[in-house]
C-alpha cells in the first residue's frame, strides 16, 4: 500500500497551486477553474484516507463534492455571463466597485 503521506503532499501542492491561481489570475473563468483545482485537492485527501482506513463514507463525500462543485460552476458561469452583459468585461481588476 502506498504511504498516505504521498497523497497528503500531493493534495497540498494541488491546493497551493489552486490558491495561487485564485490570487494571481485576472480572468474570472480561470479563477473558477483554480477553485475547482482546490476542491480536487480536498477530494484526493478524502479518497486516500477512505482507502487507508477502509471506510467508504469518504468516497461518498467525494461524490457529493463533485456534484455540488458542478452546480457551483454552473451558477458561477451564469453570474459571469450576466456580469459580462452588464459591464462588458470579466477582468477582475476592473470589477472592484464593491469596496470601502
Amino acid at each position: 500500500m502506498i504511504d498516505p503521506i504521498n497523497f497528503v503532499v500531493f493534495s497540498s501542492m494541488l491546493l497551493l497551486i489552486g490558491a495561487y491561481g485564485v490570487i494571481r489570475n485576472k480572468n474570472a473563468i480561470v479563477v473558477l477553474m483554480s477553485v475547482e483545482i482546490m476542491l480536487t485537492a480536498a477530494n484526493i485527501n478524502f479518497v486516500a484516507f477512505s482507502t487507508f482506513y477502509n471506510v467508504l463514507s469518504g468516497q461518498i463525500v467525494v461524490l457529493f463534492v463533485t456534484t455540488i462543485a458542478a452546480a457551483e460552476v454552473a451558477i458561477g458561469l451564469a453570474i459571469l455571463l450576466s456580469l459580462f452583459k452588464q459591464r462588458g468585461t470579466i477582468e477582475l481588476d476592473l470589477l472592484n466597485r464593491l469596496r470601502w
Binding site: 490558491a19 485564485v22 490570487i23 494571481r24 489570475n25 479563477v31 477582475l92 481588476d93 470589477l95 472592484n96 466597485r97 464593491l98 469596496r99 470601502w100
Partner: protein, 725 residues
C-alpha cells in the same frame, strides 16, 4: 315636550323593563341551577358591564341609541345581581359579619400562586349597593343627556360600561393584587371619560392631570403592596386578615404598608394635597362627574382604607394620619367651595370635603379600635360604620346633585351660577329634587346626611377625651358642617331662586364706536330660557331624591345599620348593636349642636344668596371685595389656595433645576461617552476599512495568508514554545 321625546321615553322604558326582566330570570336560573345563594354568583356582577363594553365596541353603531341600550342592559344586569347580593348580605345577614370567598388559581409557581376570585362581606355589599344603584341611574340619565353627541355616544357608553365593570370588580376582588389591577383600570377609564371632549385643550389637560396626580398615589399603593407581600408572603384578604397576632408582631411593617396604602387612597379620593385633579375633572360630561363622585372613582380610595381596616387598627399612627388628612381636607375644600361660581366646581369641592369626612370617620374609628384594645375598653361608637354610612348617603345625594346640575346645564347651557337664577318655575322637578339633595348634604334633621354626619361628629368627639388632636379635628368638622350647609344653600339659591328675568349690565359698543372705539355700560333685560328635562332624566333624579331623603332611616331598620356594617366581632361588640338607636341620638347634646350648626349654615346661605326681585343676590360681589377681611380671603379661596401656583413654583424651583442638571449631565457626560466611543471607533475603522479594496485577489491572498498564519502559530510556534491550546 314633543312627541319625539315621549317616544324615546317609552323606547327606553321598554329597554329598561326588558333588561330587568331578563336579569331577574337569569338570577333565578343561576341560583336555582347552581346553588341557593346569590353570593355565589357575585363573580358575574363585573362581567356583565365588561361584556357590554365589548359589544358596544363591536356593534354600538347599529344601535339606535348608539350603545345606550347595551349599556342599560349590561349595567342593569349587574345592578340586579348587586341588589340580590346586597339583600342577602345586609338584610338577611347571611354571613353573620364574616365573609365568603371563592377563588381560582390563575397561574402558580413553586412559592406563590396568583389567585383571583371574589370576597364578599358587608363592606363589599355596601359598595355594591352604591355602585349598582347609582351607576344604573347615571346610565339611564346619560341616554338622554348625551343625546346631542351623536355617534360619539358609542365611545361614551363603552367607556362608562368598562368604568362601572372594573369598579364592581375592584369592590369584590379577593386580594390586594387583583384590586390593584382594577384600581389601575378605574384610573384609565376616568382618564378616558374626563377627556371625552379631547379636542378641547382644557379637557385633554384635565384628563392628563387626573391620571398623573392619581398615579402619584398609585406608586405609594404599589409600594404598600410590596411591603405587605414581603412581610406576609400573600396579598389575599382572607390570609392577611386571619392572624391578628402576626399583624401585631410586625407593627413597623404594617405601619409603613398602611401609610403607603393610604397614599394611594389620597390620590384616588382627591385628598389634600393631591386634591387638585378633581375640580379640573369637571371638564368631562356632567354624568361622568356624577359617576366619578358618587359611585366609581373617588369611592375606591375610601373602600381601600375600609378594606385595609384589619391592618390599620394595628397602627395608631396611620389612623391618626388618616383622620387628620380627612379633617383638614374636609375643611379647606369646604372653604373653597364657598367662593366658586361654577356649579360643578362647587359640587366637586363639596365631594372632596365629604370624602374628607369619610376618611376622618375611618381614621377615628381605627384609632378608637386600637385604643380600646390597648386599654381593654369597650368600643362605644364606630367610626368605621359612620364612615361607610356617610359613603352610602353621600353617593345618593351627590349623584342626585350632579345629575340635577347636569339637567340644569343641559337646559341653560352654562355652568356659571351667576348667569342662572329663577329656574325654580321652569324646572320644578329638578329644583325640588336638588333642594332635597341640598338639605340632605347640609345636615338638616331627618335627611340622610344628617344621620351620618352626626355619627361621624360623635365618633370624633368620643375620641377627643383620649387624644387631644381629635378635639381639634372635631372643631374642624363642626365648622365644615356649617360651611357645607352654607355653600350648598348658596348653590341652590343662586341657581333656582328669584325671578327668571332680570337686568344685567353689559358692555356694548357705543354709538360712536366706529370712530372713537368707545364702549358704554348699558342695562339689558335678560330672560333665562330653561325647560324641564325629559322624563328619562327626571326619573333618576326622583329615585335618587327618595334615597337621599330616606337612606338615613336605614339606621332604624331591623337592628340598625350598625348591625349590618361594622368592624370586629359580634360577641365583642355588644354596645355596637345599639349604634344609631334613636333615643341615643336624641339624648346626646352633640346632636343638637350639629342641628344648630347645620341650620345656621342654611339660614346664612338663604339670607345672603337669596335672589331678590331684580334677580341679584343680597350679598353683592362688591360687598365682599370691598371688605378688608373678606376681600383678600375671597381672592385667596377663589384662587384655590394658590395650590396650583405653589405646585408650579415648587416644580420650577426644585424639579426643574434638578431636571436641568440631569439634562446637562445627559448631554455632556452620558452623550459624551457615547460620542467618544463612536468617534474612536470611527477613527480606527477609517484606517482598517482600506483593506476592503474590491480586488478578489486581495481577499483570496488574505484568506490564504491567514490560514497560513494559523497553521504556523498552532503547529510550529506553539509546540516550540511549549504552549498547548
Amino acid at each position: 315636550m314633543s312627541s319625539k321625546d315621549n317616544k324615546s321615553d317609552s323606547d327606553i322604558a321598554a329597554v329598561v323593563l326588558a333588561s330587568m326582566f331578563f336579569a331577574l330570570l337569569l338570577l333565578y336560573i343561576c341560583t336555582e341551577q347552581f346553588s341557593s345563594d346569590f353570593v355565589n354568583v357575585a363573580w358575574m356582577i363585573p362581567v356583565f358591564p365588561i361584556i357590554s363594553f365589548g359589544l358596544i365596541l363591536l356593534f354600538g353603531m347599529y344601535d339606535p341609541r348608539r350603545g345606550g341600550s347595551f349599556a342599560l342592559v349590561g349595567v342593569g344586569l349587574s345592578s340586579v345581581f348587586s341588589m340580590a347580593v346586597v339583600y342577602e348580605v345586609l338584610f338577611q345577614d347571611s354571613l353573620h359579619g364574616g365573609f365568603i370567598e371563592s377563588t381560582r388559581t390563575w397561574f402558580g409557581g413553586e412559592t406563590y400562586s396568583f389567585e383571583f376570585g371574589t370576597y364578599i362581606d358587608s363592606l363589599a355589599a355596601i359598595l355594591l349597593l352604591v355602585v349598582g344603584f347609582v351607576s344604573y341611574l347615571v346610565v339611564l340619565f346619560s341616554t338622554s343627556y348625551m343625546h346631542e353627541e351623536g355617534d360619539r355616544q358609542v365611545r361614551y357608553f363603552g367607556e362608562i360600561c368598562l368604568f362601572v365593570g372594573v369598579m364592581l370588580g375592584l369592590v369584590i376582588a379577593n386580594s390586594f393584587l387583583l384590586m390593584f389591577i382594577f384600581w389601575e383600570l378605574v384610573g384609565v377609564c376616568s382618564y378616558l371619560l374626563i377627556g371625552f371632549w379631547y379636542e378641547k385643550p382644557s379637557a385633554a389637560s384635565a384628563a392628563k392631570k387626573a391620571f398623573l396626580v392619581t398615579r402619584v398615589g398609585d406608586v405609594f399603593l404599589l409600594l404598600g403592596l410590596i411591603i405587605l407581600f414581603n412581610t406576609f408572603g400573600t396579598l389575599r384578604y382572607s390570609e392577611l386578615f386571619s392572624d391578628p397576632e402576626l399583624l401585631a408582631a410586625n407593627a413597623t411593617e404594617v405601619k409603613w404598608a398602611t401609610l403607603c396604602l393610604f397614599g394611594g387612597a389620597v390620590g384616588k379620593s382627591a385628598q389634600f394635597p393631591l386634591h387638585v385633579w378633581l375640580p379640573d375633572a369637571m371638564e368631562g360630561p356632567t354624568t361622568v362627574s356624577a359617576l366619578i363622585h358618587a359611585a366609581t372613582m373617588v369611592k375606591a380610595g375610601v373602600f381601600l382604607v375600609a378594606r385595609a381596616y384589619p391592618l390599620i387598627v394595628h397602627s395608631p399612627d396611620t389612623a391618626i394620619y388618616i383622620a387628620v388628612t380627612g379633617g383638614v381636607t374636609a375643611f379647606i375644600a369646604a372653604s373653597m367651595a364657598m367662593v366658586m361660581n361654577d356649579i360643578k366646581r362647587v359640587l366637586a369641592y363639596s365631594t372632596i370635603s365629604q370624602l374628607g369626612y369619610m376618611f376622618l370617620a375611618l381614621g377615628t374609628g381605627a384609632w378608637a379600635v386600637w385604643h380600646a384594645a390597648e386599654e381593654g375598653l369597650e368600643i362605644h361608637v364606630q367610626g368605621y360604620t359612620a364612615g361607610l354610612f356617610h359613603l352610602m348617603n353621600h353617593a345618593f345625594f351627590k349623584a342626585l346633585l350632579f345629575l340635577g346640575a347636569g339637567a340644569v346645564i343641559h337646559s341653560v347651557h352654562t355652568q356659571d351660577m351667576r348667569e342662572m337664577g329663577g329656574l325654580r318655575k321652569s324646572m320644578p322637578i329638578t329644583s325640588l329634587t336638588m333642594g332635597l339633595g341640598v338639605l340632605s348634604i347640609a345636615g338638616v334633621p331627618f335627611f340622610s346626611g344628617f344621620w351620618s354626619k352626626d355619627e361621624i361628629l360623635e365618633a370624633v368627639h368620643h375620641n377627643a377625651e383620649a387624644e387631644g388632636i381629635f378635639g381639634i379635628l372635631w372643631w374642624l368638622a363642626l365648622l365644615t358642617a356649617a360651611m357645607t350647609a352654607f355653600y350648598m344653600t348658596r348653590l341652590w339659591m343662586m341657581t333656582f331662586s328669584g325671578p327668571d328675568n332680570r337686568k344685567v349690565s353689559e358692555m356694548k359698543p357705543a354709538k360712536d364706536h366706529e370712530e372713537t372705539g368707545n364702549w358704554e355700560l348699558s342695562q339689558k333685560e335678560v330672560k333665562i330660557h330653561a325647560h324641564e328635562a325629559p322624563l328619562v332624566m327626571t326619573i333618576p333624579l326622583m329615585l335618587l331624591a327618595f334615597m337621599a331623603v330616606f337612606s338615613g332611616f336605614l339606621l332604624f331598620i331591623g337592628d340598625g345599620f350598625g348591625s349590618m356594617v361594622y368592624f370586629g366581632h359580634h360577641e365583642s361588640t355588644e354596645g355596637l348593636i345599639q349604634w344609631g338607636i334613636i333615643d341615643h341620638i336624641l339624648s346626646s347634646y352633640l346632636t343638637y349642636l350639629s342641628v344648630v350648626v347645620g341650620l345656621t349654615g342654611v339660614t346664612l346661605g338663604y339670607l345672603f344668596y337669596k335672589r331678590s326681585s331684580d334677580g341679584n343676590t343680597i350679598l353683592s360681589t362688591s360687598f365682599i371685595s370691598d371688605n378688608i377681611v373678606l376681600g383678600p380671603l375671597h381672592t385667596f379661596l377663589s384662587n384655590r389656595l394658590y395650590m396650583a401656583k405653589l405646585f408650579d413654583w415648587f416644580g420650577m424651583r426644585t424639579w426643574d433645576t434638578f431636571a436641568q442638571a440631569c439634562d446637562w449631565f445627559d448631554r455632556n457626560i452620558v452623550d459624551g461617552l457615547v460620542n467618544a466611543t463612536a468617534s474612536i471607533t470611527q477613527f480606527f475603522s477609517n484606517k482598517v476599512r482600506k483593506l476592503n479594496s474590491g480586488f478578489t485577489g486581495h481577499y483570496a491572498s488574505l484568506t490564504v495568508g491567514g490560514l497560513g498564519a494559523i497553521v504556523l502559530i498552532t503547529r510550529v510556534i506553539m509546540p516550540i514554545m511549549g504552549w498547548s491550546i
